[in-house]
C-alpha cells in the first residue's frame, strides 16, 4: 500500500513510518496540513493517516477539503482527543477510522491495513458468502460450516466471526473488535474479548486439524488459512 502520513511530530512520524515500511508499505510523510493536502491532491495513495492537530491546516479541515474535491481515499485520524464527540466530528469530516494517541503500533498497522482492504475492492459485488480454508460463513442464511459440519453460533459469536472473516488474513486488534462488534470505545480491564475469542475458537477450531483463528502476539487475532 502507498500510505500518506501527515503528522507534525517528526519522531512519532518516523516511528510509525518505519513500522509501516517494515510491514511492506510505501510511506510518504508530510509535516504540516498544507503540504499534506498538496501531496494528497497529487494522488496515488491507498490510505491517509492524518493527525488531527496540525500546523497550517488542521486534520479535519484537510480531510473535509479532500472529500469536497471528490477524493475517496480512506483515511484514519490520529488524535490525542479521544472522547465520543471528537470521534464523531472526525468521522463526520470524512474519516473512516479514528485512533486515539497514544496507540500501539500494531493497532495502527492493523487498522491501516483494514482500510486498505476496503479501498482495494471498491466495486466488488456485495458478498454474502465468505470462505477461509474450509470454513464458510453465509450472511443470508446466517449459517457457518466447517468442512461439511454445520456449526451453531450465538448471534454475537456470529458477528464476531463475520468481522474476522471480512478481514481474513489481516491482524484484528481487541480494540477493533470491541469497537466494531460491540460498539464500545473504552477498554475494559478484564480480558473479555479474549474469552469470547476462545469460545469461538472452541467452536470453529477445536475439532479440526488445522487452526484458523490465530493469536498474534502483542497485537490481536487473525483468521487465515496460511501457516
Amino acid at each position: 500500500m502507498r500510505i500518506l502520513l501527515i503528522e507534525d511530530d517528526a519522531e512519532a512520524a518516523a516511528f510509525a513510518a518505519k513500522g509501516l515500511r517494515e510491514a511492506g508499505h510505501v510511506v510518504d510523510h508530510a509535516l504540516d496540513g498544507e503540504s499534506g493536502h498538496n501531496m494528497a491532491a497529487a494522488g496515488g495513495y491507498d490510505a491517509y493517516v492524518v493527525d488531527r492537530m496540525l500546523p497550517k491546516m488542521d486534520g479535519l479541515a484537510l480531510l473535509s477539503r479532500r472529500r469536497d474535491e471528490g477524493d475517496q481515499t480512506p483515511a484514519l485520524f490520529l488524535s490525542a482527543l479521544g472522547e465520543v464527540d471528537d470521534r464523531v466530528s472526525g468521522l463526520q469530516a470524512g474519516g473512516d477510522d479514528y485512533l486515539v494517541k497514544p496507540y500501539a503500533f500494531q493497532e495502527l498497522l492493523a487498522r491501516v491495513e483494514a482500510l486498505g482492504r476496503r479501498s482495494a475492492a471498491p466495486a466488488a459485488p456485495v458478498t454474502t458468502r465468505y470462505k477461509v480454508g474450509d470454513l464458510e460463513l453465509d450472511l443470508l442464511t446466517r449459517t457457518v460450516r466447517r468442512a461439511a459440519t454445520k456449526i451453531d453460533l450465538q448471534p454475537r459469536e456470529f458477528r464476531l466471526l463475520e468481522y474476522l472473516i471480512r478481514h481474513a488474513g489481516q491482524v484484528v486488534t481487541r480494540t477493533m473488535l470491541l469497537e466494531n462488534v460491540w460498539e464500545y470505545h473504552f477498554d475494559p480491564q478484564t480480558n473479555v474479548i479474549d474469552v469470547h475469542i476462545s469460545r469461538l475458537r472452541s467452536k470453529i477450531d477445536k475439532d479440526f486439524d488445522k487452526p484458523l483463528l490465530k493469536t498474534v502476539r502483542g497485537a490481536g487475532y487473525t483468521l487465515s488459512d496460511s501457516d
Partner: protein, 478 residues
C-alpha cells in the same frame, strides 16, 4: 455617601420622586384653577345680579331711591361694597368706600380687582386701625335717559379677602406637600438603596474574598426568595461548579505528580542500571519499562477522561437510553469472562423507564463494576447485575457479589481517586476506576452508593459481599 448617590436604585427613586412631585404640582394647579375659577365666576354673577336690581331701581325711582337703598345696604358690615358717585360733580352720594379705586376709571362697564382700606373694629365696635382688603367689582354708569346730562357712576363689589386668604393658604399647602413628597421620596430612596446596596456589597465582598483565593466562600442568602436571593443562589451554584472544577484540576495535577512521577523515576533508575549491565539485564529493563509506560498511559487516559467528564465536556450526547438493553449487552460481553474466572454472572431486569444519558459512559460504568467484582470478589461465586425500578422516578442499577465486601469504614473512601484499599495493593489497577464511575454518576445526576451484597455462609457471617448501586433519575416525559 457618594456611592449611595451613584446607585441605580437611588437614581431610580430620585426620578420617581421628581415625577411624583410634578404630578402633585399639576394636581395642585388643576384644583387651584377649578375651585378659584368657580369662585370668581360666582362673585361675578352676584355682582351682575345686584347691578340689574340697582339698574331697575334707578330706572323706576330715580337717583334718590338708589342712594337710599345703597345707604341701607352699606349699613351692615358684610362683604358687599357699594359706591355711588354723582357725575359730573364727583360727589359721593352713598357707599362704604372711602375713595374711588383708581382701577375703576379705566374699567368702566367691566370687572376689576382692587385693594381698599377698611377700618378694623374690635368686639365693641370701636375702630382699632385700618386694614388692607382685596375686592372684586364692576363699575357702571347709570343715566336717566341716553340724552340726560347727569349720570351716576356705580361701583358694586365684593370683598374677596377671605378667598384670597384661602388661595394663599392652599398654595402654601401644595408647596408643603411637594416639599414633603420630595423629602420623603429622597429618604425612602436612601433607605432603599442602602438596603439593596448593603446586600450587593455582601455579594461583592464575597467575590473579593473568592478572588483573593478563598474558594469556599459563598454569598449568604436571606431566604426571602427575592431577586437578590435568586442572584445569590445562582452565583453560589456557579461558584460550586467552579470550585469543583478547580478541585478537579488540582486533584488531576496532584495525581499526575503522584502517580506518574513514581513510575517515571522507576523507569529512569532502571534504565540507568541497565546501561551499566549486560545485554540480558537490558532486555529485562526494557520489558519492565514497556509495561510501566503502558500502565502510565492507561492512568493518564483515565485521569483525562475523569477530568473531561467532570467538566461536563466529555459526557457527549445525553439521549434517552434503555438501561435494561445496556445491561443485557454488558452481561453478554462479560458472561464468558466471568465464567472463566469462576463466577456465575446473572442478569435480573424488570421493565424500567428510560433514562437520559450516554450509552458509552453508562456501559463504561457497568464494565468498571464488573471488572471490580471479578478482580476483588475472590472467593465468591456469583455476581448479579440488576436493573429495576428504584425509589420514586428512579432506575436502580446494581452489581452485587458474594465476595469479601468492603469494610464500612472504607466505603466512602473508595470513590476517591487513587484510593486502593490495603487488601487490593497486590492486584493491578490504577485506583481510578471508581472515581471515573463517580464522575459518570455525577454527569448523569445519578446517586452512587455501596450496600451489602450476598453474605456467604462459608465465611461465618464475616463477609457480606458488596453491592454497587447507581440510581439514575428517569428521563422526564418530554
Amino acid at each position: 455617601m457618594l456611592r449611595l448617590f451613584r446607585t441605580t436604585s437611588f437614581r431610580f427613586t430620585l426620578i420617581f420622586v421628581l415625577l411624583f412631585a410634578c404630578a402633585v404640582a399639576i394636581l395642585g394647579a388643576v384644583v387651584y384653577r377649578a375651585s378659584f375659577g368657580a369662585a370668581d365666576k360666582q362673585t361675578n354673577m352676584i355682582i351682575d345680579s345686584e347691578i340689574t336690581v340697582l339698574a331697575d331701581l334707578f330706572a323706576a325711582n330715580g337717583p334718590g331711591m338708589l342712594t337710599r337703598v345703597i345707604r341701607q345696604r352699606t349699613a351692615w358690615r358684610d362683604d358687599s361694597i357699594y359706591m355711588l358717585i354723582g357725575a359730573p360733580s364727583g360727589a359721593v352720594l352713598a357707599g362704604n368706600l372711602t375713595a374711588l379705586p383708581p382701577e375703576a376709571l379705566t374699567a368702566e362697564g367691566g370687572f376689576f380687582d382692587f385693594e381698599f382700606e377698611r377700618p378694623m373694629l374690635d368686639a365693641a365696635g370701636r375702630e382699632t386701625g385700618i386694614e388692607q382688603r382685596k375686592a372684586r367689582g364692576k363699575v357702571i354708569r347709570f343715566r336717566a335717559s341716553p340724552e340726560a346730562e347727569q349720570s351716576f357712576l356705580v361701583v358694586v363689589a365684593r370683598d374677596v379677602g377671605a378667598r384670597e386668604f384661602l388661595r394663599a393658604s392652599l398654595g402654601n399647602v401644595f408647596v408643603r406637600i411637594s416639599v414633603a413628597t420630595i423629602a420623603l421620596g429622597v429618604l425612602i430612596g436612601i433607605l432603599f438603596s442602602r438596603t439593596l446596596l448593603s446586600r450587593v456589597e455582601t455579594v461583592s465582598k464575597t467575590a473579593r474574598a473568592i478572588s483573593a483565593g478563598d474558594l469556599s466562600r459563598r454569598i449568604p442568602q436571606t431566604g426571602d426568595g427575592d431577586e437578590v436571593d435568586h442572584l445569590s443562589a445562582n452565583l453560589n451554584s456557579m461558584l460550586d461548579q467552579i470550585e469543583r472544577l478547580m478541585t478537579g484540576m488540582r486533584d488531576v495535577s496532584d495525581n499526575i505528580a503522584h502517580d506518574l512521577r513514581s513510575p517515571l523515576t522507576r523507569i529512569r533508575n532502571r534504565l540507568t542500571d541497565a546501561m551499566k549491565g549486560g545485554p540480558e539485564m537490558k532486555e529485562i529493563a526494557l520489558q519492565a519499562t514497556l509495561e510501566d509506560s503502558e500502565r502510565m498511559l492507561a492512568t493518564f487516559n483515565a485521569l483525562l477522561s475523569i477530568a473531561r467528564i467532570q467538566s461536563g465536556e466529555g459526557a457527549g450526547v445525553m439521549e434517552p437510553i434503555d438501561l435494561v438493553a445496556i445491561a443485557e449487552e454488558m452481561a453478554e460481553l462479560y458472561e464468558p469472562a466471568a465464567q472463566d474466572a469462576g463466577f456465575e454472572l446473572t442478569l435480573k431486569t424488570a421493565p424500567t423507564p428510560l433514562i437520559k444519558g450516554s450509552r458509552e459512559l453508562v456501559s463504561q460504568a457497568i464494565a468498571n463494576f464488573l471488572d471490580n467484582a471479578l478482580k476483588y470478589a475472590g472467593g465468591g461465586s456469583k455476581i448479579e447485575l440488576t436493573v429495576e425500578p428504584g425509589a420514586k422516578d428512579m432506575v436502580r442499577l446494581s452489581v452485587c457479589d458474594d465476595g469479601p465486601g468492603v469494610a464500612y469504614g472504607d466505603r466512602d473512601r473508595i470513590f476517591e481517586r487513587f484510593v486502593r484499599l490495603e487488601e487490593s495493593r497486590t492486584t493491578p489497577g490504577s485506583g481510578l476506576g471508581l472515581s471515573l464511575v463517580a464522575a459518570i454518576a455525577r454527569a448523569h445526576g445519578a446517586i452512587l452508593r455501596l450496600e451489602d451484597g450476598f453474605a456467604r455462609e462459608a465465611s461465618g457471617g464475616n463477609e457480606n459481599g458488596l453491592c454497587v448501586v447507581m440510581e439514575f433519575p428517569a428521563a422526564s416525559g418530554d
